[in-house]
């Protein structure tokens, strides 16, 4: 165990990414204990103040403290990302195991997944949100529906490859039950792939939420999220550029750190096989 941990730490991408991500989490956790969080307190006398000692990220057009909004909104964005990651892991893995192992359902499931993937993700997500009502759970659900087929496609290709392995053949020949075979012998083999894929998916989900809230459909004001703060900032670009940079850089750094972690994980967790897998997944 310590061997693999050492290999992770030795990997430059993983190390850099983890440091940035932990830093962001640390700031977001500690900040509420140091500065009083007032994301929704309107103070008109503080209208569009530049960053200063009192309001380190400045204030917005309602005089609300931007630092509080970015921290509180950041938790909203991260939680949506986390929910999407968990949701796609569960559904994606189950569907991929079934499709990859049982040839009869494979065609039906994969056809359906292909069609779902032909619908532009963002438009599908906002249409689903319109139907499911505008709140953060709807955003998570919509993104889970959009991203599950993408997870299925990648994980399934590994299940297909593992199914042909000699050890699986051996287990089957001594009469191991199919359910046990899937859970005990095939699932552990796809876990590295899932870990790598879901790290990237966490990043995509944060970008997705930001885009949806940016166009005014996801998380609704006055509740902040990184996307909807940027949406408010859009029209005030000239007067208050700080409103754009605080949430924008937060999204970028978070996504960047997750991408680095994902790259590192991919390099450490058996690079050769994963590379082959990506080639399979593309076809």
């Amino acid at each position: 165990m310590s061997g693999i941990l050492k290999r992770f730490i030795a990997n430059r991408s993983f190390r850099t990414g983890s440091i940035i991500f932990c830093f962001i989490l640390l700031v977001m956790t500690i900040a509420p204990f140091i500065v009083k969080m007032e994301p929704n307190t309107i103070q008109y006398e503080k209208f569009l103040l530049k960053p200063s000692g009192e309001n380190i990220f400045g204030t917005d057009d309602f005089g609300r403290d931007l630092f509080s909004r970015v921290i509180v909104g950041g938790w909203v964005s991260l939680m949506i990302g986390l929910q999407v990651m968990i949701g796609t892991t569960i559904f994606g893995t189950i569907i991929a195991l079934l499709a990859g192992y049982f040839e009869k359902v494979d065609i039906i499931i994969m056809r359906f997944m292909d069609i779902m993937m032909a619908i532009p993700g963002l438009i599908l997500a906002i249409s689903l949100i319109a139907i499911l009502r505008n709140n953060s759970i709807a955003v998570s659900l919509a993104l889970i529906i959009v991203y599950t087929p993408r997870t299925v496609r990648i994980v399934r290709s590994f299940v297909l490859a593992l199914k042909e392995e000699v050890y699986v053949e051996a287990a089957r020949s001594i009469g191991v039950k199919t359910s046990l075979l899937l859970i005990r012998h095939i699932l552990p083999g796809v876990i590295p792939t899932i870990i790598v894929q879901e790290t990237f998916l966490f990043a995509y989900a944060i970008l997705g939420e930001a885009a949806i809230s940016f166009v005014g459909i996801g998380v609704q004001p006055p509740d902040p999220s990184w996307g909807n703060i940027l949406s408010d900032a859009r029209v005030l670009m000239q007067e208050a550029p700080w409103m754009v940079f605080a949430p924008g850089i937060s999204i970028m750094l978070t996504v960047l750190s997750l991408n680095l972690i994902g790259d590192g994980l991919r390099e450490v967790l058996d690079p050769k096989r994963l590379k082959g897998g990506i080639r399979i997944a593309r076809e």
Partner: protein, 316 residues
């Protein structure tokens, strides 16, 4: 090969019908009554009348049949709010979205491929680290944040490009072009970063193969090796991915349209979602998904010509 192409085209028909069904069910499982939204607090009698005129009094199965019949005729129904047909509304705005996506794809490929090659020539060299570093930022930045930065620099700061709005092409190429540069670049840059990474890894893989070693042993210059021998093979994954990249630039086009206030189909659909103008949303989903299915078809067919190694037999 011809058999494969015909089969590939024929598969599109059932796929498209199922797509139509999926889109219908996504929209029509919606709770809430759009008629109530449409007329607000007016009398009940009026609600009944409007519901009838919009066809919402029919049962879901009747509506499904009407939708599928319309779809096969190319009729997508009428908008609740715009007082015109969905097809016209989308068709009129489609050129803006498409040109954004095509421009974005152009930027993505024309920036991404050369930089990916430069990075792959000397892995872990200075240029590689630089290109990979910038591309990492590219894959991590949301397109609308990049767009806002570009507006900040090029329109509010330097006054070179407008911060938004649109001029139709027939009113003059130059004005049209000026309005399209920033939006399409903010989409293109992000996918250029992705293309550069893909190109680099694919090029590295090819450069390690034996035929390249042979070419080197024969004393061929590095330039010829990369451009003549390696490029043709290394570009295949980009061709395969170009369908996906186009779909993703299309996705990006919807957001940049909103950001730059361009009158495209994306901003139409976003507005329709906000007003619950379901026919427009339904039509938009169909139009763009069909576009992506067609692009994928073209990519698959192109692939047959580009990569003769692949044998297209019974297995698909």
């Amino acid at each position: 090969m011809l058999k494969y192409i015909i089969k590939r085209i024929l598969i599109l028909i059932p796929t498209w019908i199922i797509l139509g069904l999926i889109v219908f069910f996504i929209i029509n499982l919606a709770p809430g009554d759009p008629t109530a939204m449409l007329i607000g607090t007016e009398s009940v009698g009026n609600i009944e009348y409007i519901r009838e005129s919009l066809g919402l009094d029919k049962s879901i199965s009747e509506r499904l049949i009407l939708w599928m019949q319309g779809l096969l005729r190319g009729d997508l129904g009428d908008s609740f709010f715009l007082g015109r047909s969905v097809k016209d509304a989308i068709w009129e705005r489609l050129p803006v979205t498409m040109s954004l996506a095509v421009f974005g794809l152009f930027f993505a490929v024309s920036i991404g491929i050369p930089f990916g090659i430069i990075a792959a020539i000397k892995p872990n060299g200075l240029r590689d680290i630089l290109v990979m570093g910038i591309s990492l930022i590219g894959v991590s930045i949301p397109e609308f944040f990049l767009g806002l930065i570009l507006i900040f620099i090029f329109s509010l700061g330097l006054h070179i490009f407008p911060s938004g709005g649109y001029k139709p092409l027939f009113e003059g190429f130059y004005q049209w072009f000026r309005h399209m540069v920033l939006p399409s670049f903010s989409i293109g840059f992000i996918w250029a970063a992705y293309v550069a990474r893909l190109m680099r890894s694919s090029m590295l893989e090819v450069l390690n193969q034996e035929f390249i070693v042979t070419a080197r042993a024969k004393g061929q210059t590095e330039f010829i090796i990369v451009m003549k021998h390696a490029l043709r093979n290394a570009i295949l994954p980009i061709v395969t991915a170009s369908g996906i990249i186009f779909a993703l630039t299309l996705n990006g086009a919807f957001i940049t349209e909103y950001l730059f206030r361009l009158p495209g189909a994306g901003s139409l659909i976003i507005a329709a979602v906000k007003h619950r103008d379901y026919p427009i949303v339904q039509g938009g989903l169909i139009v763009f998904s069909t576009t992506i299915l067609l692009i994928n078809l073209i990519v698959d067919i192109l692939y047959v010509f580009i990569d003769p190694r692949i044998k297209y037999g019974e297995k698909s």
